[in-house]
């Protein structure tokens, strides 16, 4: 871990020894091996770790999905017991939403957001590390339940009183409640961090309306998180107090209102839907213009429709509760609001189509996934509009039709967007291109598998197959085209084709890692600032902070308009631009220093949480560690003091300290 670099005079990181003790221990300065990762506060390393963790959970959640499909492939499935099946679908959804989708979006956000706005790191590098470690602890707590008496079994929205101690007697729900509170704190800290970064740390000249769309969408998502996470925290705390400490919030015999949980959950849960999809929208809004060789059509419309999706997303939660008897006025209001949210979404889809229209489209794997998103998300969006019609929704509630809908928007939408991002940004992060041939296999297996898996679920659902039932019987499977047996089999076969598609991606990663071939600096002729540095980027990101004059600054540095023909003409290569930055490099850059405290603090918080299951002594230990780490944290400056550096800096240059929190 370099603490000072002098890019102007040489690229060897200066070796550093700590001189000062902060709190109880000296700060870490190790530059090699596992310590480099464990105590890092570098947003790029943290981003990569987020990605790895999310990918591991994607595989775990995927295996859970395959087990579910195996169970349902044939009538009277024998693979899973009813109890294990309940745990399986609960943990599949929880894992995919909280431990794959959100962290993977956080991986992209952490890595690229500072690069896209021309910053050297996020506003609070140590808090960034804390978010990552809390997520990992939360994920471990959630999945530890498998080995400690059974996982949560109430479905991902965990309706109380069904999730109370009477109907869910195992500790699974307790682990779930604790795990989600910890990941919630992680996301809340992350969202505050990223909002401050975007609002405060943009490069000179980068006004809000010159920000890349990905950065914009991440900003909207963080605002959604800041205001929705506390609401589910309240719900989780109430459930925890009921299950562990005898509170009565969901005790119907005492007069409790079963709708309380539903409201609290969905006030969080619906914005969460946009938390999942908007990062993918941001990614493809970068990918489509790059590979269509045209600027994004209607940039302000894409930005504002993204923001209005976020805003309206807070006012539609009760459409998840149409079947609960809210009364005609509520149902009508939420129904109309839900239809209204289709408008900004439609605006975006037309913007993407018009971006491609008349462009010289380059069909790379990244582009294929982006186009896949536009098509598949539109299908999912249309079935979504059918749910907004309350009478129709009453018919569809808790059937496979709903399962089909949200997998089209989340798998066809979000996951395809993330995969598009993998292929687009892989050369930036690792300096090597993912193999395009394997990419094609990856893409087509996933498209075909996904449609075979989730397409038939529309039919199954409209035929009345309920979700979350662990068996179906031949006796009631129906005849001919609508035979449940046939379509369940198709869906199960499809899920394995889908899994093979994902396997191709993993193979591609291994093949790419082993290949010696380096990626060109600007392989896609890209448009935004993250490409104005080496691949992988230097530890300090930019040799000098770029001054921004245009939306798509990098593109405008490469191209100038030919006034005679009104076409854009390439006047510089990416390599030239990066070299120019190196020549004008800032003399001294202070980067935030690594720290022990994020990881220690997160362990303390984890023990504190588990103490609600394992009793007061563990709470005391967890609290002590948390307090100790907090004071260590407070007493340690985020950028190491001058005295911590060797050799001291006597060459007469004025220090230039990068603007870091």
């Amino acid at each position: 871990m370099a603490i000072i670099e002098r890019p102007g005079t040489g690229t060897t990181p200066v070796v550093v020894t700590p001189q000062q003790t902060f709190g109880a221990v000296k700060r870490p300065v190790q530059t090699k091996g596992w310590r480099e990762w464990l105590f890092t506060v570098d947003h790029k390393k943290i981003g990569i770790m987020y990605g790895v963790v999310a990918m591991v959970f994607f595989i775990i959640g995927g295996v859970e999905a395959l087990l579910i499909r195996l169970q349902l492939a044939m009538p009277d499935g024998q693979i899973l017991s009813a109890d294990k099946y309940n745990q399986m679908f609960t943990m599949h959804a929880t894992t995919m939403v909280f431990l794959f989708a959100m962290p993977m979006a956080a991986a992209f956000a952490n890595y690229f957001l500072p690069l896209q706005i021309g910053a050297r790191d996020v506003a609070f590098p140590r808090i960034n590390a804390l978010s990552l470690w809390l997520l990992i602890i939360g994920g471990l707590v959630l999945n530890a339940s498998w080995f400690l008496g059974g996982a949560a079994d109430g479905g991902w929205f965990m309706y109380a009183p069904n999730s109370g101690p009477i109907f869910s007697p195992s500790n699974g729900v307790d682990f779930w409640v604790i795990g989600l509170q910890i990941t919630g704190v992680a996301s809340l800290l992350g969202s505050i961090n990223l909002i401050v970064t975007v609002l405060n740390m943009r490069a000179p000249g980068m006004s809000l309306m010159k920000m890349p769309v990905f950065t914009w969408m991440i900003l909207v998502v963080q605002f959604l998180l800041v205001f929705s996470l506390p609401v589910i925290t309240v719900a989780l705390v109430l459930l925890m107090l009921q299950r562990s400490y005898g509170a009565t919030f969901f005790d119907v015999s005492q007069g409790a209102d079963p709708l309380l949980w539903q409201h609290l959950f969905w006030i969080f849960g619906h914005p969460e839907v946009y938390v999942l999809i908007l990062p993918a929208f941001g990614i493809i809004s970068e990918v489509l213009p790059t590979f269509a060789r045209k600027p994004l059509f209607g940039y302000p419309f894409v930005v504002f429709s993204g923001a209005s999706i976020g805003l309206v997303g807070f006012g539609v939660w009760a459409h998840h509760m149409f079947a609960s008897g809210l009364g005609p006025v509520s149902v009508a209001v939420f129904s109309v609001a839900t239809m209204a949210i289709a408008i900004p979404t439609g605006v975006k889809i037309f913007n993407w189509l018009l971006t491609m229209w008349g462009g010289k489209i380059w069909y790379t794997t990244a582009m294929n996934f982006a186009i896949g998103l536009v098509v598949l998300f539109t299908i999912g969006g249309l079935s979504g509009v059918t749910h907004s019609v309350a009478p129709s929704d009453t018919q569809q509630t808790d059937t496979y039709y709903i399962v089909a809908h949200f997998h089209y928007v989340l798998f066809g939408g979000m996951v395809f967007g993330l995969f598009s991002g993998f292929y687009y940004w892989w050369p930036k992060v690792f300096g090597k291109m993912l193999n395009e041939k394997l990419g094609a296999w990856n893409f087509w297996f996933m498209v075909i598998g996904m449609n075979l898996t989730f397409g038939p679920m529309h039919i199954l659902g409209l035929q009345g197959q309920p979700r979350r039932m662990y068996v179906w019987t031949e006796a009631r499977a129906g005849e001919g085209f609508f035979n449940l047996g046939f379509w369940n089999m198709v869906a199960s076969v499809g899920s394995f084709i889908l899994a093979v598609g994902v396997l191709f991606f993993l193979i591609n990663v291994v093949v790419t890692a082993r290949s010696k071939q380096q990626a060109p600096l600007d392989p896609w002729d890209a448009r935004t600032l993250e490409w104005l540095t080496t691949s992988p980027p230097k530890e300090h990101n930019f040799d000098r902070i770029p001054v921004v004059h245009h939306l798509d600054e990098f593109f405008h540095r490469k191209y100038e308009e030919d006034t005679a023909t009104h076409t854009m003409k390439k006047v510089a290569e990416g390599e030239d631009l990066v070299r120019a930055e190196e020549e004008g490099a800032d003399a001294h850059i202070h980067l935030p220093s690594p720290s022990y405290w994020p990881i220690v603090l997160s362990v303390g918080v984890g023990l504190l949480g588990l103490g609600t299951i394992y009793g007061v002594p563990m709470i005391v230990i967890g609290f002590a560690i948390t307090l100790f780490a907090s004071y260590g944290w407070i007493l340690e400056p985020s950028v190491a003091e001058e005295i911590d550096f060797e050799p001291s800096d006597n060459d007469g240059n004025t220090k230039e300290i990068a603007p870091l929190g």
Binding site: L199, N200, P230, L238, Q254, I545, D576, L635, P659
Partner: protein, 204 residues
Amino acid sequence: MAETATHTADHASEHAHETSTGLTNNKLAMWLFLGSECLLFGGLISTYMLYRGRISDGPHPMAIFDIPFTSVSSFVLLMSSLTMVLAVTSAQRGDDSRTNLWLTVTAVLGATFVGGQIYEFTAFVREGLGFSTSLFGSSFYTLTGFHGIHVTVGVLMLLSTVGIIRKNKITGNKAEVVEIVGLYWHFVDVVWIIIFTLVYLIPS
């Protein structure tokens, strides 16, 4: 390449310390955190308002609330906002000893409020309102307990700030650190005004 050359010229290092909004990172982060806290207390207050009248067992709120006592402890908490303001202005003047004095007074007032709350809770339990007695009991203790924990954390923050200023170990701008602690403290006070009004003063 012409463009690149001009970029070198107008790269101005003196702007390195400025933020795009003019607010410092720390202050902006505290404002965002408090925005998030509004929703947290919003959820808890809504739960209480839904359940305040649902009393299957145990005492009724108006039977056990001691309004004069709670009014006095509320007054103590409100006065702590005044002393917090005095601490912030002292810090901005660079007067360390006054800053520490007012921070300590604020912490003492806050601790007095927490002490009053503990006394109040024990009195209510004696009068038969347990945590599990009724929906009213659960939601009352959860809401006011959450607020009490926030005040306790605030007291810890105040005392820690005093200690760090005394040891001269503060990192960053001293006046701003005190101001940010103050933002949190005022927020906790404002929340109490809402809770006191809704829970104690409006009869159910």
